[in-house]
């Protein structure tokens, strides 16, 4: 286990060292949650570029942003704001939803 743990530590340290590079100048897009719906419902982002998603929840209740195709899931507390680092994506449509209100909270990321 010691070996495994040291592998983790090396990976973690490498990651922490690389993080500022990865975060440098990534375009940022914002999603807002109001009344259990996302706005905008369609977010257009450039292809092959890492980007950062900020989600603001204006409702009093928590929501969970979830997308299988974007492979991200993230809880946003009521009245809270979170930041998610997104990978560089190929052109296409990537649906997402709010897992706590799956009927109303739906949207998509369109990559062009």
């Amino acid at each position: 286990m010691r070996f495994g743990l040291s592998c983790f530590s090396v990976l973690l340290l490498a990651g922490v060292a690389l993080a500022p590079l990865a975060q440098a100048e990534t375009p940022t897009y914002t999603l807002e949650i109001k009344n259990h719906t996302f706005s905008p419902e369609t977010l257009t982002v450039p292809a092959d570029t890492p980007w950062t998603l900020i989600i603001k929840n204006h409702d009093k209740t928590p929501e969970e942003f979830e997308s299988e195709t974007l492979s991200r899931e993230k809880i946003i507390p009521g009245g809270g704001q979170v930041r998610v680092k997104m990978s560089a994506l190929k052109p296409g449509t990537y649906p997402f939803m709010g897992e706590f209100n799956p009927d109303k909270a739906k949207g998509q990321v369109v990559v062009k």
Binding site: F8, A19, K60, T61, P62, T69, V82, S87
Partner: protein, 277 residues
Amino acid sequence: MLPVATIVFRECLEIALIISLVMAATQGLEGRLRLILSGLGLGFLGAAIIAFFTDTLAASVEGTGQDIFNAGVLFVAVGFLSWTVIWMKHHAQHLSHRIRKVGSEIVAGETSHWVLVTIVALASLREGAEIVLFSYGMLASGQVTWSSIIMGGLLGGVGGTVVGVMLYLGLLRTARRHLFSVTSWLLVLLTAGMAAHGASYLIAAGVLPDLVPQMWDTSHIVSSHGLLGEILGVLIGYTPNPSGMEVLFYVTVVASIALLMYRPWEGKGLVSKAKPS
């Protein structure tokens, strides 16, 4: 009521699957049911505390605190699980060489009890917090009533537990002869999956680079939202579209545990030298 049942089912399934595997791996450990229940109790207590502090947690580290926390919980669990699997491997060999007990069931007779408690507590911590948060949200927004939360929770909880118990009984039945090696390998894959999941949290937090955004995509074959995808997700860490970093973590953990289980540098035929504990 149905969304409550679905969410609780999903989270309970994860906890139940992990517990079933740990139960199968610790056949013969005295008082393990009590240990597992203590772990569950501690986990849910922790979950309630975390749910209470979600706002603070989520807002910390520029809105990435929750991901970093989740990754931390997963990595600690990975450490404990790896330790357990490696320790059991050597202990089992020692036992079968010395005592020649019929049936390899008595495997982890003396495994440190608190390790078991910790594993179960960590497994139920994240999932429990999600259940609490979700139920609170549903109640606060007036979308559901207490009674439907309780009904949905019971339905989902029972459903998740039934699947877990089926896995446990299935394991005991089909793999009786190889119970030990089958369950320890399942635990290795589960552990590797947890490590990869932890890595994905750190990627979302921007702490780790993804290396390759997407190694492959099998979401059209097995979706992570279906029952099969959910079960595979917990058991072997299945993700339809993993990044390069997640695959790297997975492979590294499987390789490290396998190395420490078999210790090729100790030479063949020397396994009986495994230290008595």
